[in-house]
């Protein structure tokens, strides 16, 4: 009886603190998942940014601006220094299509993703805007 009680108390002593150890092991996982969620929200933010840039480029191209002006309008809608690929092509006779691609870095060494956004606008007749007006 006494030996049984000793073995039980010994096991309890060896298991004391196991909850702390398990929690300490779970904390890195929680941190990793939190970082992944922050990265997801960053992707959503970049999607909105790319959409706004594509809209600006399409609008600029629709009112008669050339490719350089449309590209500059798209880059002006992005944060300074942000790398982006801007393409503006005619979409039929009466429309223009602007596409913006943003490379986005991801945590944990995951391959960078590319966010794409497209906007289509109807061409408007009239003289091209004067660059000196802006």
């Amino acid at each position: 009886m006494a030996s049984r009680i000793r073995s039980t108390t010994g096991r309890l002593r060896s298991e004391s603190g196991s909850a702390t150890v398990e929690l300490a092991a779970a904390i890195p996982l929680l941190v990793a998942v939190t970082l992944a969620m922050v990265a997801l929200l960053g992707l959503a933010r970049d999607q909105v940014l790319a959409q706004g840039a594509a809209r600006e480029a399409a609008r600029e191209a629709a009112i008669g601006g050339d490719l350089a002006r449309a590209s500059a309008a798209a880059r002006a809608a992005l944060p300074p220094g942000r790398a982006a690929e801007v393409a503006v092509v005619p979409d039929g006779a009466v429309r223009v299509r602007a596409s913006v691609e943003l490379p986005v870095g991801l945590p944990f060494g995951v391959r960078p993703a590319v966010i794409k956004a497209t906007a289509v606008a109807a061409r408007e007749l009239g003289p091209a805007p004067n660059p000196a007006d802006q």
Partner: protein, 174 residues
């Protein structure tokens, strides 16, 4: 204390050991349950983050579609030439309906123009991945509503995102 009394007296040490024996197995796995609950909460938060991101992106795209559709509705008609020209256009004969001015009723022309604006807005909205819901379009103002479908991650629940835009032909700057 006699040996018999000692055997009959309650032992506090024995109570403590019994309590440990009862609580020990019941508390085992408690940390695992807490960990599982935390993982579930974090997973749910991740799914919500994905859905919020998809919602925000679709909202921006729908707003772009609405803006472009409203502007297209006010674009001049000459910006949209017909796709195919007739092979040879016959001049109207004298005494025909056109000559009498019956077919070119001003109200019918206004109705056709309004339909043309709505049609242009619908084309642009569709080209931007959205669907035109409403177009209150006149010659000087266009109020356009579009909608876009968003599919959420768990269960494929579909939500309609609506955006509205208004374009006005303003007076040119002096």
């Amino acid at each position: 204390m006699s040996p018999r009394a000692a055997m009959e007296a309650p032992s506090t040490r024995g109570v403590a050991v019994r309590a440990n024996l009862l609580e020990g197995p019941a508390e085992r796995g408690g940390a695992t349950l807490v960990g599982l609950a935390l993982a579930g909460i974090v997973l749910m938060a991740g799914v919500v983050a994905v859905d919020i991101g998809a919602l925000a992106g679709s909202r921006a795209a729908a707003q772009t579609a609405a803006d472009m559709a409203a502007l297209a509705a006010l674009a001049p008609e000459v910006a949209h030439p017909p796709q195919s020209e007739p092979a040879h256009e016959q001049p109207p004969e004298r005494g025909s309906a056109t000559d009498k001015g019956e077919s070119l009723d001003i109200f019918q022309a206004a109705h056709q123009a309004r339909d043309g604006r709505a049609s242009r807005a619908a084309e642009i909205a569709m080209a931007n991945g959205s669907e035109l819901v409403r177009c209150d379009c006149s010659a000087v103002q266009a109020v356009v509503s579009v909608r876009r479908r968003v599919r959420f991650v768990p269960g494929g629940l579909t939500v309609l995102v609506t955006a509205r835009a208004r374009a006005v032909l303003g007076r040119p700057p002096p």
